[in-house]
Amino acid sequence: MLTDLGYGALLLAIAVSLYAAMASFFGARTGRGELVDSARNGVWVVGGLVTVAAAALIYALVSHDFQVEYVAANTSRDMPLTYLLSAFYSGNPGSLLLWVWLLGIFGMVLAVQNRNRNHEIMPYVFAIIMAVEAFFLLLILFLANPFAKLTFVPTDGQGMNPLLENPGMFFHPPTLYLGYVGFVIPFAFAMAALITGRLGYEWIRNIRRWTLFAWIFLGLGNAFGAWWAYKVLGWGGYWGWDPVENASFMPWLVGTAFLHSIMIERRRGMLKVWNMVLIILTFELVIFGTFLTRSGILSSVHTFSESGMGPFFASFILSSLAASVGLVLYRLKALRAEDELDSLLSRESSFLFNNLILVGAAFATFWGTVFPLISEAVRGVKITVGAPFFNQVDGPIFLVLILVMGICPLIGWRRASIQNLVRNFAFSAGMGLILGMGIRTLIGGGFFAILGFSLCGFVIASILTEWYRGMRARHRTRGENYLKALGSLVWANKPRYGGYIVHLSVILIAIGVIGSSFYNTEKEANLANGESMTIKQYTLKYEGLLEYPTESKQITSATLAVYNGGEFLGRLSPQKFTHRNHPEPVSKVAIRSNWREDLYVILAGWNDDGTASFKVLVNPLVSWIWIGGVTMVVGTIIAFWPDRRERVWPEAR
């Protein structure tokens, strides 16, 4: 019953979104206010309808309505409520419904935010949002209906893929989709600005928060994905340059470039075409990423024709790309820069280089990801590149990016004097060098590791010096104590200092990545009961195997006592379990984590003679990555925080 309601709501939503898209566009073109008004009501109706559909699916999932194919395929009676809820987006149809639901909600939020402003551009913004919404609704109804029914009612469902029953997978899809869908909003504003020719500060002012919002959630989505892979997939790493990972990483890279270069447009009225290109690219990469995760075109040689979604996505990407690029060309004259860059040695140009590097990293990643398809189309052979390619190409690119991140706060806007730069540079570079050399002497390491750590030290020193200078100035001029001076400094320039916190977070993550990629140790061993193995300072003693059933699983758990030298640290229990409905076993790695390193133990297998084989890794500094993710959110929230001065913005800064 309710599922029919959900399906009906989706059918209606298609009709209304198509109507709203057209009415909004033509109403605004012809100046017919009543059409525009009815289209805006349409945005509310679509938002309501997709919410009804989402509620119907949630109800079906929670109430175990196994006649619904999606519910039967993704849930079972023994699943806890949290995973019943996450089943909403653990399959293709449900995740597409999440897409349209979020976009529907964002549409309503925009309608509220802009009820008394932006009358000229909002109709076009809504038209674009509704057009995107209609496309995804069409996909759902034709190719991935979450409300499709079985001809019979199974007594129980198949349950979720056990690998997805993990907190990481509870948070990964929604955060990622908040990011994906969030980037539709700046894109819609950009297109509306192009259509109306209102290419001043207006559209950029309107999208700053939306862009920040989309950017942090896309980043978080990636981080949760990495966290999940690390905890669940059991190969010891968090990032494997798999096509699905690249799919969500590329829009984040280009989105990061966009986030930076709109600041230049805001301050100086430059880079207008470039910004349009970046937001168009981000949008298309978002759509491409949504497609990649559900196509399988890159994972195997033979699945290209298997997915019926290919033609849909291809035509949507090509037509939206053609339309948006056409609009940019049409407005090319109006997009001319109002100002010139003065000097290579300015903060503007450091932003410009950061842009080039980020887009370059995205391009390299894109090329590596789709190369199998291209080579097959052009030469008839599939040539693929593995993780080494991405490490080798993207690794150095990111090191340069870190360097730019450190130089940026050292140089002023417009034009910096060389003496000034050299003086500022010398201290931070010296600190970086000392750090690198210190690590080299105390711990050792190869060229890239030491270079990486030195650059990280350089950035931290350069950012902290900038903070210290501001703090000292405030302490002197206003007599505030240092702590208060620091607080009010950050509070008075939230976007800027929030940004610096984000940069420091990136460095924390970089330190974690460098540490865990260059200093990791791994060892495999087959142990009999009572036998031990040693890896670095740890000794692991195998104490036997436990086998027991739980409500839905059959678990095999190995117990290992962990010693640091002679000191007993605790026990680890790496497991393998089989879920009742899924024959393939799932590993549960055991991780002992502290700020220095992770001891990561995988139970690889066991034998009838009582021996068990383990793969053990020591991954240094991994927890810095997760900490960096948290501080990045903090920095973004500070940058996001409402500011009194925004009303007179942009002149105020």
Binding site: L163, H302, L344, W367, V381, T384, F389, E584, S587
Partner: protein, 148 residues
């Protein structure tokens, strides 16, 4: 790299008369960055690209494929032999045309590995006709695969 060129020329140009020169300066710096990127991608491909073949395609290449690092895609055959001592596993990789390739894999076996699973093996095709693999990829579970 781009930065060092900037330091030598950056202070010389004045705003008005340097309109053209200023642009050229940025153009040169930009081109250096783009060229460096292009070279990095090219070098990456030279050292890290490999053929991605089906079992049948590999067989068709025969001896010419010996010794080269490759990826081969196929389904896991019904017989799997696992040696716990050396943590090696022997199985056959089968494609749709019934071609079969013996594979020796050393390493931790992914959870989704089982007979009939779609896998990709990475390694070297040796003169004995055996594929020696050190990397085994199963289909990523985060892809949405239709069930039922």
């Amino acid at each position: 790299m781009a930065k060092s060129t900037g330091m030598t020329t950056g202070a010389v140009t004045s705003k008005k008369k340097g309109l053209f020169r200023g642009r050229r300066k940025f153009l040169i710096a930009g081109i250096i960055v783009v060229l460096a990127l292009g070279y990095a991608i090219y070098a990456g491909f030279q050292s890290a690209s490999m053929y991605f073949l089906t079992v049948g395609e590999l067989k068709a290449r025969g001896e010419t494929a010996y010794g080269e690092r490759l990826r081969v895609n196929g389904k896991v055959g019904p017989d799997i032999v696992w040696d716990n001592q050396s943590t090696t596993m022997k199985f056959n990789l089968i494609d749709g045309q019934g071609e079969s390739l013996p594979v020796v894999y050393k390493g931790v076996v992914p959870d989704l590995f089982k007979p009939d699973a779609d896998v990709v093996v990475e390694g070297v095709y040796t003169a004995g006709g055996v594929f020696e693999s050190t990397k085994l990829l199963t289909k990523c579970p985060s892809k949405f695969t239709p069930k039922l």
